[in-house]
Every structure is written in C-alpha cells, then in structure tokens.
C-alpha cells in the first residue's frame, strides 16, 4: 500500500501539467461475469469469506458485521445490493475491505464488500475512460466513474462513495434516526 501511494504521489508531482493523463491504479473484481474496478487507495485489505454476524431487521444485502482485527465492520453483499442473482459463496468469494466517505464528507466508515472474486490491478489514465451511458438497473450513473477497455474487455470503474452513499448510507442513517 505504501509503495503504491508513493508512486501515485510521484506521478502527480511529476506531471502536474498533464494531470488528466496520470495513471490511477484500480483493483478489479468479478461480479456475475462482469469486471468492475475501484480506486485501490480506498482498499484496506482483501480477505476470504469467513461469515458474518447477522444484524436484526436489516435489508438482505447487509449480511451483518464481521471482526476486522478488533473492529466491528458491516459487510455488504454486492450482488444483492445491485439486485443481481445470488449464488452460493465459494472458494473465490472474497471480502474487499474499503474505506467509504460519507455523503457529507464528514466521516469515514470501513465496510466489507463481498464479490465473486478479485481479478487484478490495472493502471488506467482518466483520459482512457469513457463516460458511462445512461442505462437502467440498480447502478446509478453517479456511481460509475467511467468505462475502460483492457484486453478487449470492458471494465466498469466505480465511484465507491457514490455507490454506497446512494443505498447503504441511507439505510444506516435512516435507522439512526429511529
């Protein structure tokens, strides 16, 4: 993580003029045959699925909470969240532990996101990203940073904060006001 951050920082300072061309690193993962990417600087760690403790009266995409070295963090099933068909968790199922900033940018939460499998890390320049077309489904366009192509395959680059804030955060904030 540290090296990644340093490299990213160097790139930023090295090419201040061509900001748009700087390469950002994205961790990609698989979900129902599609490949998604998220900003690697947001990823705290990746761990195998080892269960979660259910929380009463939560929507089904909130699997519960898990123990992340002494901290209790919520776990989201991304398939259920995006209203994709559920499959049984298998050997490749992983939890991506990521830091999410609140909509009001006041606070940060750590969350576990369950995906089918992790794929790889790609360097993508923001100029290589195409804006996402309007399309239906659970994915709000705000939550998509753009589309990129790698090895003839399409990568959907996600804006992780917007993705979570549009759904999960609302639920969490709603129940807080109870």
């Amino acid at each position: 993580m540290n090296t990644t951050q340093t490299q990213a920082a160097e790139k930023t300072t090295g090419s201040a003029i061509e900001t748009d061309n700087r390469l950002d690193q994205y961790l990609t993962f698989l979900l129902a045959g599609e490949e998604y990417g998220i900003d690697i600087l947001r990823v705290q760690e990746i761990r195998g699925w080892s269960g979660a403790t259910p929380i009463p009266n939560m929507p089904d995409f909130i699997l519960g909470v898990m123990n992340l070295r002494g901290t209790v963090v919520p776990v989201i099933d991304l398939r259920k969240y995006l209203k994709l068909e559920s499959i049984p968790f298998g050997k490749t199922t992983v939890v991506i532990v990521a830091r999410i900033t609140d909509a009001d940018e006041q606070s940060e939460r750590t969350m576990g996101i369950v995906v089918d499998a992790v794929s790889e890390v790609h360097n993508i320049a923001s100029t290589d990203m195409k804006p996402a077309p309007e399309f239906g489904g659970a994915l709000n366009t705000d939550a998509i940073k753009g589309l990129a192509t790698r090895d003839e395959k399409m990568l959907i680059i996600l804006e992780i904060d917007a993705l979570m804030n549009n759904g999960v955060e609302q639920i969490l904030n709603a129940s807080e006001q109870e």
Partner: protein, 729 residues
C-alpha cells in the same frame, strides 16, 4: 531572552478551577465550623490565583482576587468575624472569578457589570465591619497598587538615559551577612554590569587570626560606580542585604567621567573577599583575582545532556512525590488512556482466542498440553489484572460530581425558604470518567426535585410532626460490578392515587390495571408523564424525570424510585462502573450468540407447558409464581430464521427493566464472561435493542442486547400488531 508564557495558560486555568473548587467547598464548610485549616486553605487558593493571574498577565483577575484575599486575610488573622453575609459575598465572588477565568480561557470579554458590582461589595465590606480598626484601608491601598507597579516596572525597559552618574557606595555588612547565603562579590559582579566599578576594601575590622570566626564577615567596602543606571537599580541590588549592613549610596557627580583611575573594571585591585563557600579555609586573599567574568553567562551553553538529565530527574521526582489532596495524580490526556484501554481490550480478545485453542488442543491430545494450559491460565490472570488496572486510570471518585451539591442545596433551600441538611456518604467511590460526567445533570435534576417538591416548608413539616429541618442524603457505593447512587429525602413522598389519576389521563395505564406500588411510582419516569406545570398536581416531582431515565439508560444503567407517603422517597441509580467492559451471559439462538448483561438477569428457567398462555393470540405470557411475564421470542423480534420454535425446548431468561419483568426465549445458555464492548456505531449504526458488539474467543462477532431498548422495540411491535388487528376488524 523572551519567554512565551501562553503555553502555561491551560495549566493555570485548570489550577484556577481547582482552586475555586477548594474555595467554594471551604466556604461552605465555614457555615458549620470555623476550622482555621479551612480558612487557610481558602486563603491559599485565593493567594495562588492572585499570584498566578498576575504572573500570566491577567491583571483583572489578579486585582479582583486581591480584594478577596485581603478579606480572607482579615478572617484568617481573626481581625474579622465570619458572617453569613460574608460567606455569601465570598461565594458570589467565587462565581464571578469562575466566570472571569472562563472568559480569559475562551478569550472572551469579561462580564464587567457583574464584576464591578461584586468588586464594589467586597470593597465596601472591607472598609466597614472590621473588628479592630487597624488602618487597614491604608495598608490595602498600599498593597493594591503594588501589583500594578511591579508589572509596570518589569515591562518598561530600562530608561534610555545616557547620563553617566558617579556613585559612591559605602557598604559595611553585619558580621552575620554570609550566613543568609548572600555573597558581596556576587553583588559587586552585578554592579559591574551597570557600569565601571572600583572597589576598595576596608580590612581594618579583621581581628587577629586566633579570634576569627570563619563564618563572619569583617570587611567593609567603598565602591565607586560610574553608570547610567538609576539609584533604584543600584538599591535593588543591595535590597536583600540592606537590613544587615550599613549602606550609603551617594551621588558624587553627574555627567562626568571619573578622573583617571588605573583601575579598570575586572582587573587591578580587587577587594579581598571572604568566601562563604569555603568557610574557614582561606580568609583573606589580598589582591586576589576574584573578578567574575562578565561574559560568563550562567551556563547558557551548558552541557545539554546534563540539563536533560536533571530535568528528567525533576519529572520523576515530581511524579513520584506528589501527595496530599491530589493523591499523587498525574494529568494524562484522555485519548492516550483510551488508546491503552483499546489495546488491552485487544489483548483480552487475543488471550481468549488462544485459550480457546488451548482447550481444543488439550482435549484432543489428552493432557499433553498441560503446560500450555497452565501458561494460558496465567496469561488470563495477567491480562485480567492488566485490564483492571488500566481501567482504573479512568476512574475518578464520585465526589467530583457530589461536590457541587453543598452549594446548590444551600442556595436553593434559602431561596425557597426551606431548611435542609445535606449529608453525603461514599464520596470516594470511584466510577469511570465518562459515567461521572454524564451522571452530573441527572443528579442535579433529582436533588432539585427533592428540594422543590419533596422536602416541605418548615411550617408544614412542623405540622406533620417532623423536624423543621429536612434531610437530604446522597449516597454512593459499589455493589457487584456496579455503582449505586441514592438520593434520599425525608419529604412528603409520592402520592400513589395522584400518580394513577395522572397516568390514566395521559393514557399510560388502563383503568382496570392492578399495579404494584413499585410500578406506580416508576410511572413518573415515563416520557410525557409530567412537566413543570403539572408537578404540583401530583404532590411531587416530575421535572425531566424521563430525561433522567434516558440519561441513566444511555450509560447502561437503570433508575428506580421508592416512596413512603409522608415519609420521603429514595431514588436509586444503578450504573456500570465502566462503559468499556461488561459482565455478560452468553446465550445461543440458532447459530448466533448473543450477550445479555448479567445485571439485568433475574433468573433463568425451563418453561412448563401449563404455565404458558397466550394473550389476544398475539403475545405469549408465562406465569411465574403470581406474575404474568411477557415472552419475547428473540429470533422473531430480530427476524432471524434459525432457532428453536417450541418454548419448552429452550430456556426463558427473566430480565428486569424499570421494575418490570420480561422473559427472553433463547435456545440455550453458553456461559458467562467479561466482554469488551465494541461500538457498532463507528462503522455501522445504532440499532434499537442492541447495545453494541463484542468479539468472542473464536473471532466471531456477538451482539450485546440492550434490555430496555429491546423491551421498547417489543412493545412497539405489539402496538403495531394491535393496530393491524384493529384495522382488520
């Protein structure tokens, strides 16, 4: 060298509030006794605040405190009697000072009208009413101006006066001069800083060697100094020895260079000096070069490692030897302690993980791992002890919260014309800092209520055959892992009938309900039961009692009230000692483990079929002795699919909250253990009925049930169900 004092301001402000607390409690003591130690303590506190505020540049605080101090000094010396009015005024002054200190800390403006008013009152009390008229006004004026003067002097740089004056100084010390640690050579050295100095010694008074007392000073000096410095500056250097010597300082000439002298400062004829450092060793050194090097700044560039060493020794010393009222306390930032507590919490979890593994191993290898088990047992004990002592760091005596009540009771009771005697017991009982801070307001509510509505006026009390002075008692003690705080008064008590009427009006209870006294009295904690206007209707209390209960519950505790009509009431608050750990009962429902605080559990039982009954087909009740207890099926309430369905197959945990019993239906009990409470809120959210989570030995997360919240959740659900039923019919 310029020194920025602002970094000491925080310490100073903290010290001021401690000092003000000392003054306040001391002044309240003076109502009862006239112990001279109390007066001394009050005086010292005022004195320190005055000195500190002047040193740190808060002149308004200093001059205000100065008047108080003068008054206190008169009381201390017995020149002034302690009157109730005097105490009232001093207490008011403490309040004013507190406001000034707060304003200074927040860099706000002082509340000048209030300050002036009290200041004026203090002044007029000083001028009058003195027992012995000893020209105090005069003396006062003298000292009042002194503070200001010194500061002015200190701040104004030396006059840029270029005039050179020749001074001739005759200095003949008493023989005893050296014994007080004064050393003429050092004074001369400082004189040399002011200008050109010539020193001649008069050794005529030195007795024969055989008669010399090596500790005496037999020499006199004539000095001449050419300097631009003022007479005051020269006198200042001699100020400590002036009383012990014949000293003449005369102006010889102005604007005139001394006629050619061969003597340059720092060389040539120097006065013989008796060295106090080596008494009896060398008496006289004629023409010895004792000239101090003017360049020799005191160790400015001294060996820094040595400085650090001494500084460290200093710190150790002041930490280890702190004693007395502060009980050897150190100031530690609360987040540092919390970090430590978190780490120890982790250690507890790791330890319990290891010990689980150890048990598994030991079982599988049949005693092969005795040593591992022994080690783990020891680790467990060490961990527990470490945790306890770390938690102790956050513990403070409840007196921090109690200490405000003598004042509050005194002010309020005289305001409402009641006579009340306050007693406080168990003030040294310790409780977590957070608990302590949050319990303050509820306690104030309770005490005010007791004074306002509990204790009667002297006339009413007399008519009722009670002593005219009412009794209010604050009591704190430890019981199990909890702290119990009681607020007891011998006032009118609660009126059962009035409460029932009021509760029915508010729709809190049905008409036919047969209620225990306990249940009735605790209705006053219900939200919306009463507001300030309605209080008189129910012969008692009510102001914010629901707020009291909510605050106490937020701390994981509970509150209840007991009362005897006409004889007083007792409010009992039970709180956990700490918010970091909890003694829990582990229970299994389906695949999940839940934790219930041991404090709320009354008993656990296996249900008999014939004692189970249902109520409107919606809720289930269990008859235990002569009581019907609602059964809460946790798996249904929490919407988990797993868990036993048949009530007779599982267990019923009877819990208590607000004097009411409920039964929690669980699959089985798993054991009891102390758990470290982890907040769900930091990454997740608050969930009604869940107090938090913990991490079990196997690394899994278990939820901790919040009993009052759970019961509320259950009632809400029942009401919804009833609404549904109503809608259908």
């Amino acid at each position: 060298m310029s020194i920025d004092l602002s970094e000491f301001h925080d310490v100073f402000f903290e010290e001021c509030s401690e000092g003000l607390d000392v003054m306040e409690s001391g002044l309240l003591e003076l109502d009862h006794t006239t112990d001279s130690e109390d007066i001394n303590a009050i005086f010292r506190a005022a004195h320190s605040i005055k000195g500190g505020s002047a040193s740190f540049g808060f002149m308004e605080i200093s001059s205000f405190t100065h008047v108080m101090e003068t008054l206190l000094d008169e009381i201390r010396d017995g020149r002034r009697d302690i009157t109730r009015d005097g105490i009232d005024l001093l207490l008011a002054s403490v309040d004013v000072l507190r406001g000034m200190v707060a304003a200074a800390r927040d860099e706000q403006a002082y509340d000048q009208p209030v300050i002036d008013e009290v200041h004026q009152k203090l002044e007029s009390m000083l001028v009058t009413q003195t027992k012995v008229d000893t020209g105090i006004a005069e003396q006062k004026e003298d000292t009042a101006s002194e503070t200001v003067q010194i500061c002015e002097k200190a701040n104004v740089p030396r006059e840029a006066d270029q005039r050179i004056t020749s001074w001739s100084i005759n200095f003949k010390p008493d023989a005893s001069l050296l014994r007080a640690g004064n050393e003429p050579s050092r004074i001369f050295r400082e004189l040399m800083r002011l200008g050109e100095l010539t020193v001649e010694a008069d050794v005529s008074a030195i007795p024969p060697l055989s008669e010399i007392d090596p500790e005496n000073c037999y020499i006199g000096w004539s000095l001449s100094l050419e300097t631009s410095a003022s007479r005051e500056e020269i006198e200042e250097l001699f100020s400590w020895v002036a009383d012990e010597s014949d000293l003449e300082i005369a102006c010889a000439a102005t604007r005139q260079k001394l006629p050619d002298t061969d003597v340059e400062p720092g060389t040539g004829k120097q006065a013989p000096i008796v060295s106090a450092e080596t008494p009896g060793e060398v008496l006289v050194e004629a023409s010895a070069d004792v000239t101090p090097n003017v360049q020799d700044q005191p160790a400015e560039k001294a060996n820094t490692s040595q400085v650090t060493k001494v500084a460290e020794a200093t710190k150790n010393k002041s930490v280890s030897s702190g004693s007395g009222k502060e009980s050897g306390s150190i100031r530690v930032a609360i987040d540092k302690v919390d970090e430590l507590i978190n780490l120890v919490g982790e250690l507890v979890i790791t330890q319990s993980m290891l010990s689980q593994t150890g048990v598994d191993l030991a079982n599988s290898e049949a005693g092969h791992f005795d040593k591992l088990r022994d080690g783990l047992t020891q680790l467990e004990r060490n961990t527990r002890e470490l945790q306890e002592s770390v938690l102790q760091i956050r513990m403070l005596p409840i007196s921090f919260s109690f200490s405000r009540f003598p004042r509050l009771v005194r002010d309020l009771s005289s305001k409402i014309g009641k006579q009340v005697e306050l007693t406080m017991t168990g003030e040294q009982t310790e409780v977590d800092k957070t608990v302590l801070e949050k319990i303050g307001d509820p306690l104030i509510h309770l005490v005010r209520n007791s004074l306002d509505h509990g204790i009667e006026t002297p006339e009413v009390r007399k008519a009722a055959g009670k002593p005219e002075t009412g009794r209010l008692e604050l009591l704190a003690y430890h019981e199990g892992g909890d702290i119990i705080i009681k607020v007891i008064d011998d006032g009118a008590g609660l009126n059962r009938e009035n409460i029932i009427t009021k509760a029915m009006e508010k729709g809190l209870i049905g008409e036919t309900e047969d209620l225990t006294d306990e249940r009735v009295y605790n209705l006053i904690f219900a939200p919306g039961f009463s507001t300030a206007e309605q209080v008189s209707d129910v012969s008692g209390r009510g102001v914010g009692m629901d707020v009291v209960r909510r605050n106490v519950r937020d701390l994981g505790g509970n509150v209840s009230i007991n009362s005897n009509d006409g004889a007083g009431s007792t409010v009992t608050i039970r709180l956990p000692l700490t918010l970091a750990i909890l003694d829990g009962q582990l229970a299994r429902i389906g695949e999940e483990t839940y934790i219930i605080s041991l404090v709320s559990i009354v008993e656990t039982l296996q249900m008999q079929k014939e004692s189970i009954s249902s109520f409107t087909g919606q809720s289930e009740l269990y008859r235990l002795r002569d009581e019907y207890i609602p059964i809460i099926r946790l798996s249904e309430l929490f919407g988990t699919k797993s868990g036993k369905k048949n009530l007779e197959d599982g267990l019923l945990i009877v819990v208590e909250a607000d004097g009411q019993h409920h039964g929690l239906f669980v699959d089985e009990l798993l054991g009891q253990q102390q758990v470290v409470i982890k907040s769900l809120e930091s990454n997740f959210t608050h969930i009604q009925g869940i107090a938090g989570a913990t991490i079990l030995g196997d690394g899994k997360v278990a939820l901790i049930i919040d009993i009052p919240g759970l019961i509320q959740r259950y009632s809400k659900q029942c009401q919804q169900n009833e609404c549904l039923l109503g809608a259908v019919s």
